[in-house]
């Protein structure tokens, strides 16, 4: 009897261990409604397309109440929006819980791909940079959204034309655009308006001190302020030069100077005369920036700028809001250095006139999601005119205006005295800006370029650095496939014109 009992106990133990090892994460049961986008829900599209896109999304999502959507979002401030505002609000309206999976910016790509490769279905909604659309679409990570858009009626008409194209790959929509990133030049109005500065500058350079529209004017103004103020710890200008994102400032500088990434035969041309000239200009500019600028990232620039130690910076839109003191008293922004510059900041399109539309975000649906309809509906609701208008005004969040309505929003314009000029500058930047390279392998091309740029900052020869990067670019093109890349590049250039190469 004892032996028999032992047998059963041991068998049960082994089985339970095996079951525990094999059991996957429990997947919530799909609601009764169809999750197949190709099959319109009962009632048909016509019945669904009443009210606003946000209302439609909420109504269509209600049958999914009780499920949880796993949503990737860039960690830190970006994630405060779904954690504190949109996630709870969506749950209140629909009963669908939002689980925010916070990951660093580069991991938004790598984690989405890794989960797709093993088919876990871990994510339902994917935040991604529009520059990765080609990669994510070609590798099957993203669900095509056209049928969902038709079925549930997203409102995309007033997304600025510059940004609208970023939602598509080979004519198919893979994500709704959600963040109007563009580089903006911020400058100290009080420094530029000061009569003593004006007179001294004119005496030194022979012409007026103006808000720079060319890189030469930028360098002169930067040199002037640095020479005058560096003894007190202030400098004329600062731009993020640390590895990782340094290539972004090369990409707009290069194209504003007339450069192109590839020739007609798809050979890399970043190392041509314009490339070398652009990189040389950037290296030369560094000498007027704070010591150690080669390792300055976003935080270092932000800290020095908010502390009043820099005369000009070129960076993303949120710094403009914080410079005016908007939101800096919230708990989420308590880490931002104390604002010494509110009311003293001017906004302008960066020198060259064609700022990098650096980054941005699309909201896509994972092809492996078990709840694609619900995931799409959350995306449509987030990006709808009324909800997005609230989200771009959240004090602590980082989403930037991208709809006509956002730029014309009287509520936004009244948030601080200079808000109308700020919005106007963002709009100009969006209209004249240039997109990140958006072909398959974009991240590999950018990484090679980043290494070339930082190598030149460290004292390397710009020509040599760019030659090496160009050789790597050609190897990447060769590996992925010359014809594939040529087709993708040609389509990218033609579909995004004039925001690829300024005319």
């Amino acid at each position: 009897m004892q032996l028999r009992l032992m047998k059963w106990v041991s068998l049960l133990m082994v089985l339970s261990l095996l079951l525990a090892a094999c059991a996957g994460a429990s997947v919530p049961a799909a609601p009764a409604a169809s999750s197949d986008a190709a099959q319109p829900a009962a009632g048909g599209a016509a019945a669904a397309l009443t009210g606003s896109s946000a209302d439609r999304a909420v109504e269509a999502a209600k049958p999914y109440a009780g499920i949880t959507l796993n949503v990737t979002w860039e960690s830190g401030l970006q994630a405060q929006d779904p954690l504190l505002f949109s996630g709870p609000k969506w749950e209140e309206l629909t009963g669908i819980k939002i689980n925010v999976v916070e990951v660093s910016f580069p991991e938004l790509y790598s984690k989405a791909v890794a989960e797709h490769l093993v088919g876990t279905g871990a994510y339902d909604v994917i935040n991604y940079s529009p520059a990765w659309t080609g990669d994510l679409a070609e590798s099957g990570v993203l669900e095509p959204l056209d049928e969902y858009i038709t079925k549930y009626g997203a409102e995309l008409d007033d997304v600025l034309p510059t940004y609208r194209g970023l939602m598509y790959w080979k004519g198919v929509n893979y994500g709704l655009f959600d963040d109007g990133d563009t580089f903006v030049m911020y400058y100290r109005k009080d420094w530029f308006d000061d009569q003593a500065n004006q007179d001294e500058f004119k005496a030194k350079f022979g012409h007026d001190l103006v808000v720079p529209t060319t890189w030469q004017e930028w360098d002169e103004a930067c040199q002037f302020f640095t020479e005058k103020l560096s003894a007190d710890g202030s400098y004329g200008c600062g731009i993020q030069r640390a590895e990782g994102q340094a290539y972004l400032w090369f990409m707009d500088h290069f194209r504003a100077n007339g450069g192109k990434f590839f020739d007609d035969a798809m050979g890399a041309t970043i190392n041509d005369e314009i490339g070398v000239q652009s990189l040389t200009e950037m290296v030369n500019s560094n000498q007027f920036m704070p010591p150690g600028i080669e390792k300055w990232g976003f935080i270092e620039i932000l800290s020095a700028w908010m502390d009043g130690k820099l005369g000009m910076i070129i960076t993303w839109p949120p710094i403009g809001r914080w410079s005016a003191g908007y939101g800096t008293d919230t708990e989420q922004l308590s880490w931002v250095p104390k604002n010494q510059i509110a009311g003293k900041v001017g906004y302008a399109v960066p020198p060259g006139g064609h700022p990098e539309l650096a980054g941005g975000f699309n909201l896509g649906v994972s092809a492996d999601s078990q709840n694609k309809d619900a995931a799409y509906l959350f995306v449509q609701w987030l990006q709808s005119p009324e909800i997005s208008a609230e989200r771009v005004k959240l004090q602590y969040a980082l989403r930037d205006p991208y709809r006509e309505a956002h730029f014309n929003d009287e509520g936004y314009k009244s948030l601080w005295p200079e808000a109308p000029q700020y919005l106007e500058t963002l709009r100009k930047g969006a209209e004249t800006g240039v997109h990140d390279l958006g072909i398959p392998g974009a991240r590999e091309y950018e990484e090679a370029l980043d290494r070339a740029v930082t190598s030149a900052y460290a004292g390397g020869d710009p020509q040599e650095a760019l030659d090496k990067a160009a050789a790597e670019w050609n190897a990447i093109t060769e590996r992925i496939g010359m014809d594939v890349q040529k087709t993708a590049y040609d389509e990218w250039v033609s579909s995004r014109a004039p925001n690829v190469y300024p005319e």
């Binding site: 590895e243 704070p290 190598s455 390397g460 992925i480």
Partner: protein, 310 residues
């Protein structure tokens, strides 16, 4: 393993009796089975699977996954960036392990006696080892900061004028910065192992040699070194293997920059595998590195063994 003494009912049929015997004989294996399956699943399967992957063209950027034989291996051997990364890694191994050994030995020698305050010094010395290398890297990144870092500040006080060295972006200073960080963290490990080795040396040997008039150098050269050598060889091997995998400190301090001047083999493998998703190629590179390390370590071990025999 002892089992309870079980009495089998005489009325039990022959087949029941055989089943009971089977259970009695194999119960131990049933208990062990889950662990064995887990070990196979977690280590052997990935190892064999990655070997298979290394023969595939499996690349996120290329739609078809197909068998390509040894092409990935041939491509890795022609990859200039891989050889550069390997060169950077070997340089760090040679310098860091040598300095760590020297400093570790000095510390162990110093603290092997009855030094006052030894009880307090020892735990303090061991603190860096228990810190996560990533935390160490980010902490030192702040220390090396050009404008706000205390290292430039202290140097400035010493020489009487501001120091604005861009430690982590200057090709001339970036390696010293990496090496100092690495050595700061891992010297205590070397020290601990060597201290254990020194403690095992019979003090009577020193007393006898001292009575014969041996100098301090002779004591070290003729007694300490030969007796501690087996432990020292092991410590060198451990550290060399560990530094070969160096990733966290490079990742947090320089990200492999400026350019790719401090990119190590592990960092390069990470970039290829987890950023660019060139899975077949990365697997082939990982296997080649394993082969290389195994060969080098075997040769080194034999050499160290010969030294010991002498």
């Amino acid at each position: 393993m002892a089992f309870p003494n079980v009495t089998i009912n005489k009325r039990t049929t022959f087949s029941q009796s055989r089943r009971s015997q089977w259970w009695e004989h194999n119960l131990r294996y049933v208990f062990v089975l889950p662990t064995v399956l887990m070990i196979l699943g977690l280590s052997l399967f990935p190892l064999l699977y990655s070997l298979w992957v290394s023969f595939l063209q499996w690349d996120l950027q290329r739609p078809q996954t197909r068998f390509i034989g040894f092409k990935n291996y041939a491509d890795v051997l022609r990859d200039v960036r891989m050889w550069e990364a390997l060169g950077h890694t070997l340089f760090i191994i040679v310098v860091a392990v040598a300095v760590e050994l020297l400093l570790g030995l000095l510390l162990a020698q110093t603290l092997s006696g009855n030094l006052p305050g030894k009880r307090f010094i020892m735990p303090l010395l061991l603190l860096p080892v228990v810190m996560a290398p990533l935390i160490v890297g980010y902490t030192w990144r702040m220390l090396w900061d050009t404008q706000y870092g205390p290292i430039n500040q202290v140097l400035g006080w010493l020489i009487g004028r501001p120091v604005e060295l861009v430690w982590l972006a200057n090709p001339r200073t970036v390696y010293p910065a990496i090496l100092i960080t690495e050595i700061w963290q891992w010297t205590p490990f070397m020290f601990l192992i060597l201290l254990a080795g020194l403690a095992a040396v019979n003090p009577e040997l020193y007393e006898a040699a001292a009575m014969d008039g041996a100098s301090a150098w002779q004591l070290f050269r003729q007694i300490t070194l030969p007796l501690v050598w087996p432990v020292m060889a092991l410590a060198i091997l451990f550290r060399a293997l560990d530094v070969f995998k160096i990733f966290d400190i490079i990742f947090s301090l320089t990200g492999g920059g400026p350019g790719s001047q401090t990119e190590t083999a592990s960092l390069y493998v990470y970039i290829l595998g987890f950023k660019n998703f060139r899975l077949g190629y990365t697997a082939a590179m990982a296997y080649l590195l394993i082969i290389l390390v195994s060969v080098v370590i075997t040769l080194l071990w034999r050499q160290l063994g010969r030294e010991q025999t002498r």
